[in-house]
């Protein structure tokens, strides 16, 4: 990405979970740090998310998941990203993620995992430093 271009990130909650405090707080914080945030909201199917990521030409796809269904939903979204040929866009996961699943998610190919209570500054700098 060039220096002039702002980092673009899509934030969404896949599946049925409706708790969106974390997703919104992170969305606001990233926006305030100078990124372009496309907030898709809750109850999204993995296909809706992937199509939006494609259309919005984002640099990151960020998913918030708090119900515990993160392993199966991540597998599903990664498959969908492959299908739409955007498997190269780094996937970022936040939410209620137990320690053992952080490792498992990274093994699947997730770029970053930010469990609840990750400081906002840490999320911002991780995304800015990624290349």
């Amino acid at each position: 990405m060039t220096a002039e271009r702002k980092i673009r990130i899509l934030i969404a909650s896949p599946g049925l979970d409706g708790h969106d405090r974390g997703a919104k707080v992170v969305a606001y914080a990233l926006r305030d740090s100078g990124m372009d945030v496309i907030y898709l909201g809750i109850h999204r199917t993995t296909e809706e998310i992937v199509i939006a990521a494609l259309e919005e030409d984002v640099d990151f796809v960020g998913l918030s998941m708090l119900s515990g269904a993160h392993m199966i939903l991540t597998e599903q979204i990664l498959k969908m990203m492959e299908k739409y040929q955007i498997g190269d866009i780094p996937l970022v996961i936040g939410g209620t993620i137990p320690k053992k699943d952080v490792t498992r998610l990274k093994e699947l190919g997730v770029a970053f995992v930010f469990p609840t209570q990750t400081p906002l500054d840490k999320i911002i700098s991780a995304l800015k430093e990624y290349n």
Binding site: V37, Y39, H43, G68, A69, Q76
Partner: protein
């Protein structure tokens, strides 16, 4: 050195000292009064916990109905005094376990219920005339209540003997928790149907528990929590009055639900202020004559977003203080979260410790020996009054915007809450707000492994098999007839409850019913707030 100011999130500044001067504007009779007397600032009962402790009701449910049935029997065996059913997300969203959107969610955050068959198993060996049950269910509350009544009928228990609560508060779902299905009009109609039906046929049941808890856990302040909840309650009351019911027919069964978070006296003052305001609204604004209509009955949950994953055992301490604040605030029913709930639903051992926290409070500490022991405190009475004024100010602001439904569909309430949530996050990140174990007194926890409740991956398969079996043995001709009839009644003015009960008796599934209503009324579209 100048002393640091102490300011609550709501902007109320705590003074260095409180004296008689701070309460001289308060009328000892009209503002404070006595426990069990109007305006009930000091509690809704004359002797409060001397007569009866609050209900100890631990929110619980997971996996198959059989798994949850066993957990309920365990908790009741440990001295819990009522049931509180956690439903999984597909059940909350009106989807059957075989729906593609249910993937990964069946039986995960609660128990999976899709047909009467499941509900029968959930309450097997639990006679409904000897327990009361609270269901945290909203968009599909009318359906779950209908199934519960079917179980009562099968057990031979008359509806008049059924006690319990359905949350049934959709407005806060649009704002804070997201478990909505239908747009406000049809959702409110379902709620009014349940209130009307219970008023006439299930008189001991609370058909709604108007909840501030979710606003609070989404990040708002105590004043916002109180004001948004009371403003929601006003909307519900007006909707039921429009149906033609008299205020005193249903107001005595309205109940409330909140989060008690960390600021001890602010929480106590919040409950005292709301109790007084509710009594005044009911008596003066809605002209309720029956004193039971004036009573602000509420349950609480202690924990939620105040629970931290770092040094998680500390959560037990947080919850204990929150529970004490709730009792000093005059609570009727309480759920104390277990310390491992930032990670998953609790293990049996941790769920037991959480229950014990309440039992120590109720049976050992003596705080229950006299009602409202803080009544008359310069600080508490003064803070109660300040909170009351701020709550009224915000309610008036919402009403001047056209009420809660309008403020929600326009995203006003959501924005207010988000701004607070962001402020809170920044205060924690900067260290301005202390969180023990997170930004103070931290330890290296890299190597720690906790024993957590594990989700059973087989639950979805079992629930889908059970649903398929039900579908193969039920009379599918009858099912079609019921669905056709439900569609017709939904389009009319008739109360849907009796038709839902009849449909579930013939094992129509939750997903089938909800699909029909979705086809007729569509779904809610979330306003953009970012």
């Amino acid at each position: 050195m100048t002393e640091t100011k102490r300011v609550l999130e709501t902007g109320i500044e705590i003074r260095p000292q409180y004296t008689q001067e701070d309460i001289k504007g308060l009328d000892p009779e009209k503002d404070i009064g006595s426990p069990g007397e109007y305006p009930y600032t000091r509690g809704i009962h004359k002797s409060m916990y001397r007569d009866r402790l609050w209900s100890m009701r631990q929110y619980s449910g997971f996996g198959t109905p059989k798994d949850s049935n066993q957990r309920y029997k365990y908790l009741l065996g440990q001295g819990q005094t009522g049931l509180s059913v956690a439903l999984d997300l597909p059940t909350q969203m009106g989807l059957d376990p075989d729906d593609s959107m249910s993937l990964g969610e069946v039986g995960r955050v609660g128990v999976s219920i899709s047909t009467l068959n499941n509900m029968e198993t959930l309450f097997e060996g639990l006679p409904l005339d000897s327990i009361t049950t609270s269901f945290t269910i909203n968009a599909t509350a009318s359906m779950l209540l209908a199934m519960y009544l079917c179980v009562a009928e099968k057990q031979g228990v008359p509806f008049e003997k059924i006690g319990g609560t359905i949350q049934n508060d959709i407005l806060k779902e649009y704002v804070a928790r997201g478990a909505w299905i239908y747009p406000p009009d049809f959702s409110l109609r379902l709620i009014v149907d349940t209130i009307e039906y219970c008023t006439k046929h299930v008189p001991r049941f609370n058909p709604i528990s108007i909840a501030g808890a979710h606003f609070k856990d989404a990040g708002c302040t105590c004043v916002q929590e109180a004001a948004f909840t009371l403003a929601d309650a006003i909307e519900y009351i007006e909707a039921v009055l429009d149906r033609g019911l008299d205020i005193d027919e249903f107001a005595p069964r309205l109940s409330f639900y909140f989060y008690t978070h960390n600021n001890f006296f602010e929480e106590i003052a919040k409950y005292r202020a709301m109790r007084k305001l509710w009594a005044k609204y009911l008596r003066e604004r809605f002209n309720a004559k029956n004193p039971r209509s004036w009573l602000f009955r509420f349950g609480v949950v202690c924990g939620g977003s105040t629970l931290m994953p770092q040094q998680p055992e500390v959560n037990t301490t947080r919850v204990a203080y929150q529970a004490l604040a709730s009792v000093l605030g005059g609570v009727q029913s309480m759920f104390t979260c277990a310390w491992d709930e930032p990670f998953s639903i609790p293990t049996e051992e941790n769920a037991r410790l959480a229950l014990r926290t309440q039992q120590v409070l109720g049976f050992e500490t003596g705080v229950v020996d006299t009602p409202d022991p803080l009544g008359g405190s310069y600080f508490v009475e003064s803070l109660t009054k300040e909170m009351e004024d701020k709550i009224v100010e915000l309610i008036e602001k919402i009403e001047s915007r056209g009420g809660m439904v309008k403020s929600i569909t326009e995203g006003f309430v959501q924005r207010q809450i988000m701004q607070e949530a962001l402020k809170k996050e920044k205060r924690i990140s900067s260290g301005e707000a202390a969180v023990v174990g997170v930004n103070r007194f931290t330890i290296d926890e890299e190597e720690r492994e906790l024993t957590l409740h594990e989700y059973d991956e087989n639950v979805a398969k079992e629930q889908i098999e059970s649903l398929n079996k039900t579908r193969s043995i039920r009379d599918n001709g009858k099912v079609e007839k019921h669905l056709k009839q439900l569609r017709a009644v939904a389009k009319s003015d008739e109360n849907l409850m009796p038709y839902l009960i009849e449909a579930f008796k013939d094992y129509v599934s939750l997903g089938e019913v909800c699909r029909v209503f979705k086809e007729e009324f569509g779904t809610f579209q979330q306003p953009t707030v970012i």
